[in-house]
């Protein structure tokens, strides 16, 4: 874990609104981000305020540098010391739990996905911050609104900072070779493509092992694209449905085209197989593309790689739920105004756009107007990640985001349902029943 203390107190009047201060002078790189002239709410900064924040570690080095520089600028403009700790991804959930339960520790935590929904009663409502930012930057994208607000209300408990998604990653040469220009958007066409790829000895493959990101991503896509879902909007388990059965029947055919061994795959396995040219179509975050592009030995593979959305199948839009960064402010903070000012400050275009660009496309914006950021105008292969948060799906779709939906995800309920059918261990009906049994345990009333 690394940390930094940016110390520069008393340079500006304490009590000045941070957001107002931020409005002074826009950097040239952010000139194209449209924003409305909205007066920020007044957050009189508490005297002697200092803030501590933890967030997940970076994907790429510039992420951390720009983030720290943004916080340092906040210190410069408001005199509020900000200390940021970067925490390993595996640890942030536990650290959030400890912070919430002990009522001590960081003022702000940027956690993942469901975190604010679990600790709602320990958090400061952030509707004023979110409404201001939404009005200023063209509104919140659907996924951001979903993760930021309490289920079925307009009460903001988190401020999403971005999300990363896992679209289809495929080799142009292979797909073209078997007679397709791009992967089809319907189930039958996609199956046909996969069969032809397999016949050409250039097989596709998706993780069906205990892979938190890739495994859940694929299983969710499979069920959602057949209009199935784990729980209904009221949080009742609804996985054992004809739609799910149809999805699992489809999987039987699709799995037959996969490269062997995907049932044992972890999150990294498809990256390795793809880089070794044993795998020609899979789904992954943008990290795979960058890893290939930055290594001279695999740069030709990156050159031949394309990203498209997963086939939408029977759904209205391609179903994909990314990994979302979700900031929350704890009630135990002694300086909630300073903290709100900091969150708003970091989302202002002077700060947010450079940060978005530093992340190269790993994180995609939650606010509509940042779609114009330069990051999406560089490499055209990265541009698809611009719309990650436009998705109207989330982990635990269609139910409330909760500890239960997070647990169902972490327990691989959907993945294992798919894997047991793919491996022939269970019939689709039995697998759906088993998933229902397991999900009911998590979604039981407490």
């Amino acid at each position: 874990m690394a940390n930094i203390i940016t110390t520069r107190r008393g340079t500006l009047m304490l009590g000045a609104s941070a957001a107002a201060a931020a409005a002074l002078g826009a950097s040239p790189g952010s000139a194209q981000i449209q924003r409305a002239a909205v007066t920020p709410p007044s957050w009189p900064i508490e005297s002697g305020a200092t803030l501590r924040m933890i967030r997940p570690v970076r994907f790429v080095q510039p992420d951390e540098e720009v983030f720290r520089a943004n916080c340092a600028r906040f210190t410069q403009q408001t005199g509020v010391q900000v200390r940021v700790d970067f925490v390993g991804w595996e640890d942030i959930t536990q650290q959030t739990a400890v912070t919430a339960n002990t009522g001590a520790g960081p003022d702000i935590i940027i956690g993942f996905n469901e975190a604010p929904h679990i600790y709602t009663d320990k958090l400061v409502e952030l509707s004023d911050v979110a409404e201001y930012l939404g009005a200023r930057y063209g509104g919140w994208l659907p996924m951001a609104k979903r993760y930021g607000t309490r289920h079925g209300t307009n009460t903001w408990i988190g401020v999403p900072f971005g999300a990363s998604g896992g679209p289809l990653v495929w080799r142009k040469s292979a797909v073209n070779e078997v007679g397709f220009t791009t992967p089809p958007d319907d189930h039958a066409g996609f199956l046909d493509l996969c069969r032809k790829l397999k016949a050409a000895n250039k097989p596709p493959g998706f993780a069906l092992g205990n892979a938190v990101g890739d495994g859940n991503g694929f299983a969710n896509w499979l069920v959602w694209s057949h209009n199935g879902f784990l729980v209904d909007p009221e949080g009742r388990v609804a996985i054992n449905s004809p739609e799910t059965i149809a999805a699992l029947e489809y999987l039987k055919d699709l799995y037959a085209t996969f490269i062997p061994g995907t049932i044992a795959w972890g999150d990294i396995s498809n990256n390795r197989a793809y880089a070794a040219q044993e795998l020609w179509l899979t789904s992954n975050g943008v990290s795979l593309y960058f890893a290939l592009k930055n290594d001279p030995a695999t740069a030709p593979i990156a050159e031949d790689t394309e990203h498209t959305l997963m086939p939408k199948g029977k759904a209205a839009a391609s179903p994909m739920a990314g990994l979302t960064l979700n900031a929350m402010l704890f009630r135990h903070s002694r300086f909630p105004n300073a903290a709100k000012a900091l969150i708003a400050f970091l989302m202002e275009s002077e700060q947010y756009d450079p940060w978005l660009q530093a992340n190269l496309g790993y994180w995609s914006q939650p606010l509509a107007n940042y779609a114009e950021s330069a990051v999406w105008k560089g490499d055209p292969k990265v541009a698809i990640f611009r719309d990650v948060m436009k998705s109207d799906y989330w982990i635990g779709y269609k139910g409330p985001i909760s500890q239960a939906s997070a647990a169902a995800n972490a327990e691989y309920i959907m993945v294992q349902m798919c894997a047991s059918v793919a491996s022939g261990q269970a019939t689709p009906q039995a697998a759906a029943r088993e998933a229902e049994r397991r999900a009911q345990r998590h979604f039981r009333a407490r």
Partner: protein, 325 residues
């Protein structure tokens, strides 16, 4: 113990007493045995309480609550156990834990004993070979687990590479961990590989304590090699065998790292041990109460295994100076 009180000593102070200094209250306190006992035990008791008794007690308590990460639970009695009783994933973990421990222990002891017997002979570079034998055991488990993870990889296994690309004996990669039974056997093989040195070196130490005169006497009586092994070696190493087996069973039954690093309990939960299942349910899934219940359910198995190897293997009256039954 000197029973002189401080007052009496103070009274005698003007006189020159060469052998005895004035007893202060602290000296008196330190001479007081009950206090000394408490003081000396306190660090140990404190450490055990804080780092052993409290977590264990808390773990047992959590097993009877529905605590999740981020939410204080309420007492639910046996609800967690009732759910687990009807949970096929739990029973699969029980089965695999017992199977894994049983087969791996048999493998480790068969091969370990064999290795110990070999090493007990005189051979060139004896010390060097004995040191090399320990390598699987001294390498951090996570490192060897990652090595096996690569060895068993569906795409990049070195073994598959040799069979498919070098020798050409197979056309497809070997399925080590993609289906249930191969995955189980692969994990057991990795565990045996890792456990052999501990058994071999411990048993070697036991073998070296056997007086050569016993073998000489037996040879003079015309014994065969098998008879010497059966009637001298085995009884003589039985006590150490019992201890080593107890430890080995406990380590194997509570194994976590190998399984978690290689399969994470997959494919489809077929290789979950109770330890990995407890972690999976407790930490990533956040169901602390249920995870604790799984961990608590390991205790009876461990107590039984310990008692079995201790009583069945170690209780020989002649070893305690009495006649055998």
């Amino acid at each position: 113990m000197d029973s002189t009180t401080p007052a009496a000593v103070a009274g005698a102070a003007p006189r020159w007493t060469p052998s005895r200094r004035e007893q202060t209250w602290i000296g008196w306190l330190l001479d007081w045995k009950p206090f000394l006992i408490v003081m000396c035990l306190l660090p140990a008791v404190g450490l055990l309480t804080v780092f052993l008794t409290y977590p264990l007690g808390l773990g047992v308590y959590l097993a009877f609550t529905d605590t999740t990460i981020g939410r204080r639970g309420i007492w639910v009695g046996l609800e967690n156990f009732e759910y687990l009783f009807g949970d096929p994933i739990f029973w699969n973990a029980v089965f695999f834990s017992v199977f894994y421990t049983g087969i791996a222990t048999i493998g480790k002891f068969a091969l370990g004993l064999w290795l110990a017997l070999l090493l007990n002979h005189h051979m060139p570079l004896k010390s060097f070979i004995r040191a090399i034998i320990l390598v699987p055991w001294i390498v951090p488990t996570v490192l060897s687990a990652i090595a096996f993870w690569w060895i068993y990889d569906p795409q990049f296994s070195i073994i598959s590479y040799v069979f498919v690309d070098v020798l050409g004996w197979r056309t497809t990669n070997i399925d080590f961990i993609s289906t249930a039974w191969p995955a189980r056997w692969s994990l057991i093989a990795a565990n045996i590989w890792r456990g052999i040195p501990f058994v071999a070196i411990s048993l070697l130490a036991g073998l070296q304590t056997i007086p050569p005169s016993l073998y000489e006497a037996a040879m003079l009586d015309g014994s065969t090699g098998w008879q010497r092994f059966r009637y001298i070696t085995v009884p003589m190493i039985m006590p150490i065998l019992a201890i080593v087996m107890t430890f080995s069973i406990i380590f194997t039954f509570t194994d976590f790292q190998l399984v978690y690093a290689i399969t994470r309990g997959g494919p489809v939960n077929s290789t979950h041990l109770l330890a990995t299942l407890a972690f999976q349910r407790g930490i990533p899934a956040g169901q602390l109460g249920e995870g604790a219940a799984i961990a608590v359910s390991m205790i009876p198995f461990l107590v039984f295994a310990t008692l079995f190897s201790y009583f069945a293997l170690a209780r020989r009256k002649w070893q305690q100076g009495e006649a055998n039954d």
